[in-house]
């Protein structure tokens, strides 16, 4: 079973994402901000990260850059999932190493399509 780390400061979003991804046979772990997520990744890298942008302590963009610098940190597929829905943010995310980008609001079909796109399904 593949693992996915869901990183979002909203417990509602984490719950919705967990439900969708468990339905796609992922084992889920959660983090409330980038720093928590990075600590988890330092212990064990997941197969995928579903990543919010705006979070307290450490945002998703800073987390992604730090993740990619970890040994083996280029392996997890990172899918941003954010309300930052403009081309500038998307381009920055891709430049920093994001594999895909979901613009909120999202639904199961979109998550499934994006995870399929990056070869996670």
């Amino acid at each position: 079973m593949k693992t996915c780390l869901v990183v979002d400061d909203s417990s509602v979003i984490r719950k919705v994402a967990r439900r969708i991804l468990e339905g796609l046979d992922f084992q889920i772990t959660e983090a409330e901000d980038g720093q928590q997520a990075l600590a988890q990744c330092q212990r064990q890298l997941p197969d995928a990260v579903l990543l919010d942008w705006n979070m307290p302590v450490m945002d998703g963009y800073e987390f992604l850059k730090a993740l990619r610098r970890l040994p083996g940190g280029d392996a997890p597929k990172v899918v941003f999932c954010t309300t930052e829905n403009d081309v500038v943010h998307i381009a920055r995310a891709l430049h920093a190493g994001a594999n895909e980008y979901i613009m909120k609001p999202f639904d199961k079909d979109i998550v499934e399509a994006k995870f399929h796109e990056v070869g996670l399904i």
Partner: protein, 294 residues
Amino acid sequence: MSPHDYDFLCKLLKQRSGLALAGDKQYLVESRLLPLARKAGIASLADLVAKLKERDDRLAVEVVHAMTTNESFFFRDKIPFDHFRDTIMPALLQSRAAERRIRIWCAAASTGQEPYSLAILLKEMKDKIADWRIEILGTDLATAVLDKAKAGLYTQFEVQRGLPIQLLVKYFAQIGEMWQIGADIRGMVQYRPLNLLSDFSYLGPFDLVFCRNVLIYFDQETKVDVLGRLARVTAPHGFLVLGAAETVVGLTDAFKPVPERRGLYAPAMPASAPGLAARVAAMAPRPATLVGAK
């Protein structure tokens, strides 16, 4: 809805669009036509049927449009677009090398995602087709969806289903909360309304016909008729792409499945011509992914 009214609507839909409704689809008819009736100020489905019986042609067109499914998204089902890039185009670039012209028909273009997906793939292979003339024609029964296709304007939801983010950024412009496909891509596709039940022989011949998720709504007799006429507008070296739940098997001998390419068909050749296996063997091998953007 009375069985009599349901029967009348089934006949009208069959006659005008080929849509074959089973006897247990009353719920579908009610859910699609009640909103239309209310919008038109008609109190009930019985009144709607009464108006249709008075030969209200405009209302009949609206009924057909409401009942025909127009769901579409970019790179839908993925595999047909892998076939397009890895099998169909390499074969056509060989077989059409003398004319350097390729004609593609999306027979159920709906809101444009399918023809634009093909146009995007052509853009991605622009170096190979630099001096080629490639036409894409998109047709659909419903003129309203063609208007949307021509505008090339999609919601955030629509561009996130099937379209890799790199291609979104590369080929679309953000307009408020909508995304519009670039003018250069829009310019690659021509649209026109067309009912597949009517004569379309004047449109051909085509090197490639995409006719996906249409035949499933037709009865056996209509499927045979449409496939027969599609065969007559498909060039001998050409291809037909059907939806995942559709096949030619048991319906026509005019097309044969291309081995190991699900959903892809080629016109049947005379016994003296090279067999399908030889033609497919001449095609390029298949890479594993759809758009080499990763």
